[in-house]
């Protein structure tokens, strides 16, 4: 016959299948052990986090051996069945093996079904409604978060939570889609225009964490971060009390709002640098010398520095400082702040933005 010869099997080299399986099992055990011992997650600071971490361990136990198995068969086959130089023969004409094919359809099917059921149970666990929930309204905007405690009538740019009490977050946005995520809680929900999304968390570890915006929301997305503090119950109550009295204490007497408080409470600090308020944002113009800039641009626009600053807050689309992107600053401040608050903010900015840098 003219066809290429078929390679002869060398029966005396030991049973290749058993040899390979032994190597594979050992490698799979080692691989699984290593991945389980690795520290993957950030601090675990909520009840749901532990469940998700365990779920991930189960996923590793199922998937690492599969990966190692594939690697082993590939490497072993190459090592064992590699053509010798000048070898023109063909391999064994095996077209299939029904029993083997049934096995590798059935086992993955059972594995993923099991994982899906386990995932479903965990999902129901972490989303279950709990008694005595503290409601927090979370609002995203380019590029900061605000947290409102409706029952306590408190609003803050910082998320402060009592330890061991379930929290029900209702997530909103003023502009585009953001995503509310505290990695230490493991939970995340997009903030969607026109929709209220919800997540439930029970923080169980006192500490300082960060809210991270996880959905691309524009130029300041990378720096859209707010502080999270989980406090003991007494500390939380004290914080609430301080916040409720805060307006009077800060304003001195008549309850007039402090410009500095307004500046941080409305998230101005996430985009602008202002030394007096400890702000280091770099999306918009620096405000340390806003007085001089306001005089300059105001003059060009035939308005006083005070009116220029006011217009920049209330109607930011009217003028953009050259070198900065247009249409980035939110247009909601004119609506959200009262006239008195705006006056206070403008006065504060012109006072501390005197160019001392």
């Amino acid at each position: 016959m003219a066809e290429t010869p078929r390679r002869e099997d060398n029966g005396h080299e030991g049973h290749p299948f058993a040899q390979m399986i032994t190597i594979g099992v050992v490698a799979a055990v080692i691989g699984t052990a290593i991945t389980l011992l690795m520290s993957w997650f950030p601090t675990n600071a909520a009840g749901s986090a532990g469940k998700i971490d365990t779920l991930y361990d189960v996923l590793l136990i199922v998937s690492v051996p599969i990966f190692v198995l594939v690697m082993t068969v590939a490497i072993y086959s190459v090592w064992r069945f590699r053509a010798r130089p000048g070898d023109m023969s063909d391999g064994a004409p095996i077209h299939g093996n029904t029993r083997l094919e049934i096995i590798w359809v059935t086992i993955p099917f059972l594995l993923v079904t099991g994982l899906a059921i386990y995932g479903w149970i965990t999902l129901n666990d972490i989303e279950a409604k709990q008694p005595d929930e503290l409601v927090v309204n979370v609002t995203g905007q380019q590029f900061t978060w605000t947290f409102e405690y409706p029952a306590q009538k408190v609003k803050s740019p910082e998320l402060v939570l009592p330890v061991d009490r379930p929290v029900h977050f209702k997530v909103h946005t003023k502009d585009v889609i953001h995503s509310f995520w505290v990695p230490q809680f493991r939970l995340k929900s997009d903030a969607v225009p026109g929709v209220t999304t919800r997540i439930r968390v029970k923080p169980d570890r006192v500490g300082n964490y960060e809210v991270v915006c996880a959905e691309l929301c524009g130029i300041g997305h990378a720096t859209m971060r707010n502080r999270v503090r989980v406090l003991p119950k007494t500390g939380f109550d004290a914080w609430i009390a301080k916040q409720r009295g805060g307006g009077a204490a800060g304003g001195g007497g008549g309850g007039a709002p402090s410009g500095k408080q307004l500046f941080t409470a409305n998230g101005c600090d996430s985009c602008h640098t202002l030394a007096d308020a400890g702000a280091t944002g770099n999306v918009g113009p620096k405000l340390d010398d806003i007085a001089a800039a306001a005089a300059k641009f105001g003059k060009a626009r035939h308005e006083s520095a005070r009116n220029y600053v006011r217009e920049s807050i209330v109607d930011p689309r009217a003028f953009t400082v050259p070198g900065f992107p247009k249409n980035v600053m939110p247009t909601t401040f004119g609506k959200d702040l009262s006239k008195r608050q705006i006056d206070a903010l403008v006065g504060y900015l012109l006072r501390v933005g005197g160019g001392k840098g």
Binding site: F67, V73, V78, D90, H95, L115, A116, G119, L187, D190
Partner: protein, 637 residues
């Protein structure tokens, strides 16, 4: 004088330039006239002029000018069409690659070279991003440019590299493989190609638009995408041209594969690459109109003042994501199934064995196509959509592991007891099997909703997508390019350089994208130009690996260019493969076959005594050796 006029009336670059100018004028004029009639202020509005003139009318003018529509226009207007003299068929010099050509082999090479150009462009953007991310803080580019870089990077890689390069490889190989003289619609084929450079240049040039390149990711989620500067329109319309090209090509493949197979080529005798492109084309034809629709709505919201995606005025924000992912999840399989086909060819040829479980391999492709349409919302587990949809989509997503597993295990079984030749394409195929398995596993993890809630929109997702699209798709592309390089160019590539390319890619691919799993789970979000100090060490490692990974591509480029020019001449069938494209000369004759081949058996009958896939009329079947199919004995190894 008449020669000058003739230049501007005959199809070609002069007329294309004229077409661009006229198109721009007509588009800009129309929109300005409409604004004047409506009394809009200003009448001459830059954004509108650029959108209607430069992005819509000028590209159409270019396509008409270069000559994509000449035959159809003659035909449609009832004038006598030019008799086909085959002057637009085959390439006699390099200049023929810069003209409208109807030869599927020329178009295939046009596709591949063009898409690799955009691959390099997208890769360079990745390098700039890794430079910026090498340490925390802001060093090289500002946030807006960075957002533009990753958006254009992803768009080029997806719409101008992976999807079309597969169409390019298939364009060259499929007609030869099924014994057809060309594609079913050669003129449509040419039009499909010429829309690609239009789309790619549009996306690249968005960096020069006022306000910078589109910066909303390749996902362009509304309402961010409806509010950002002009650059977004370059994406919105670029996608239309790339999508139209995709749809037309897929239609062409479907008709070609269904109607133009050689006698005896039943569906169960088709090589798996043909099956793969058949199923991919089904996906493209069904799914691609959805992304076209979603981007048109974004364009209308941006340019015409509609409110499809603005909440509170009758619009629905989440609808964008549903429509977008109804295309973009199947798109993942559009970017993977042709690669599956390439791997089947490479593995069986280089292991000298029939594909294990051939029919199951074909059925699993079909299963992936069907399941692929039922999983889109797994991209939306944290999106705030109606929550009941999540669990069903988790289940369907995980079920895709079953047909995918069939393929992986069948390839492994094909290796078993083979005679394995570790040539460069085989190395890339093995690299693909292992890396794609890892990407598939992280895909299963992402499908489990509670875990996804934590890692959604983090670097874990970045790692996953690069394992499936680079370790998966791009490795199969490299395997395919090396495998068919002798057939396409008539020359052999340098095997040593090919192996160097593989090992550099394989090692530094893993060092680049492997650690991204770790920083992702640890809390680093994706699409950020700056990050917390705690991720600094890993990011430095990732960046250094990425630079070496990027440089490894130069080895490939050098190998391809120098081998194409000076490589040793290739035999017709250097790999001793059975499929039909290897039974004709390298490169193939201009009209593919002097004799129509007759298919008499399966495509992978290695090791079966006397087995032949196809015979040519004048030859006796018995005279054709199983390993050679009429080709001289292999001279290269």
């Amino acid at each position: 004088m008449t020669a000058t006029i003739h230049r501007f009336t005959a199809p070609g670059w002069y007329r294309a330039a004229l077409g661009v100018a006229l198109g721009f004028g007509i588009g800009a004029g129309t929109v300005t006239l409409i604004r004047a009639l409506y009394g809009f202020d200003p009448v001459f509005f830059g954004n509108a002029v650029v959108t209607a003139g430069a992005l819509i009318a000028a590209p159409l003018g270019f396509l008409i000018g270069i000559g994509c529509f000449d035959y159809w226009f003659y035909w449609a207007s009832g004038r006598p069409t030019r008799p086909e003299d085959h002057s637009g068929h085959g390439a006699r010099s390099w200049k023929d690659y810069f003209r409208v050509n109807t030869d599927h082999k020329v178009i295939g090479i046009q596709y591949i070279c063009t898409t690799f150009f955009f691959f390099v462009a997208g890769g360079l953007m990745a390098m700039v991003m890794r430079a910026e991310l090498a340490q925390p803080g802001s060093q090289f580019v500002d946030a807006n440019t960075f957002n533009g870089l990753f958006s254009v990077h992803a768009s080029l890689m997806i719409f101008l590299f992976i999807i079309p390069v597969f169409a390019g490889i298939a364009n060259f190989v499929i007609p030869l493989m099924i014994g057809a003289p060309d594609m079913a619609f050669p003129r449509l084929n040419a039009l499909s190609y010429w829309m690609l450079p239009v789309a790619g240049i549009m996306m690249l040039s968005s960096f020069f638009a006022e306000g910078g390149a589109f910066a909303t990711g390749w996902t362009a989620y509304a309402p961010l995408s409806t509010e950002t500067p002009l650059g977004q329109n370059f994406f919105t319309l670029g996608v239309q041209f790339a999508g139209a090209s995709s749809i037309a090509t897929a239609l062409n493949f479907l008709v070609t594969i269904i109607t133009m197979r050689a006698p005896g080529m039943t569906f169960w005798r088709m090589p798996l690459l043909v099956w793969a492109n058949f199923t991919t084309s089904l996906l493209v034809v069904i799914a691609t109109p959805f992304i076209a629709g979603s981007q048109f709505f974004v364009l209308f919201d941006r340019s015409l003042g509609t409110h499809f995606f603005s909440a509170g005025t009758g619009g629905d924000v989440l609808m964008y994501q549903h429509v977008f992912w109804f295309y973009s999840h199947p798109a993942v399989y559009i970017m993977m199934l042709p690669g599956f086909g390439i791997i089947s060819e490479v593995i069986s040829t280089n292991a000298r064995k029939p594909i294990f479980g051939y029919r199951m391999m074909a059925f699993s492709l079909v299963a992936i196509v069907i399941l692929g349409f039922t999983v889109w919302a797994h991209h939306m587990f944290v999106s705030g959509m109606f929550s009941w949809l999540r669990v069903p989509m988790m289940i369907t997503t995980m079920l895709i592991a079953v047909p995918t597993g069939i393929k992986i295990f069948s390839w492994l079984a094909t290796l078993w007891r083979g005679v394995i030749h570790l040539r460069t394409p085989m190395l890339f195929a093995l690299g693909f099997i292992t890396m794609f398995t890892l990407g598939g596993i992280s895909g299963i993890m992402l499908a489990v909703i509670p875990f996804d809630i934590h890692v959604s929109d983090t670097y874990f997702v970045v790692a996953h997508i690069h394992y499936v699209l680079f370790g998966g798709s791009v490795f199969t592309i490299f395997a395919g390019i090396y495998h068919w390089f002798p057939k396409m160019t008539g020359r052999m590539y340098d095997e040593t350089l090919g192996k160097v390319h593989f090992w550099l890619s394989f090692v530094f691919f893993n060092l680049t994208f492997g650690p991204m799993h770790i920083v992702g789970i640890d809390g680093m979000p994706r699409r950020v130009s700056d990050y917390a100090q705690q991720y600094a060490t890993w990011n430095a490692i990732i960046s250094v690996s990425a630079f070496i990974f990027g440089l490894s591509f130069l080895v490939f480029l050098y190998n391809m260019i120098s081998s194409w020019r000076h490589g040793p001449k290739a035999a017709a069938n250097p790999w001793r493969a059975h499929s039909i494209e290897w039974q004709v000369s390298s490169p193939p004759p201009i009209f593919n076959f002097d004799e129509v081949p007759t298919v008499v058996g399966g495509p992978y009958e290695y090791g079966v005594p006397g087995a032949v896939h196809a015979v040519f009329k004048e030859k006796e079947p018995a005279a054709v050796p199983a390993g050679g199919g009429g080709a001289p004995p292999p001279t290269t190894e």
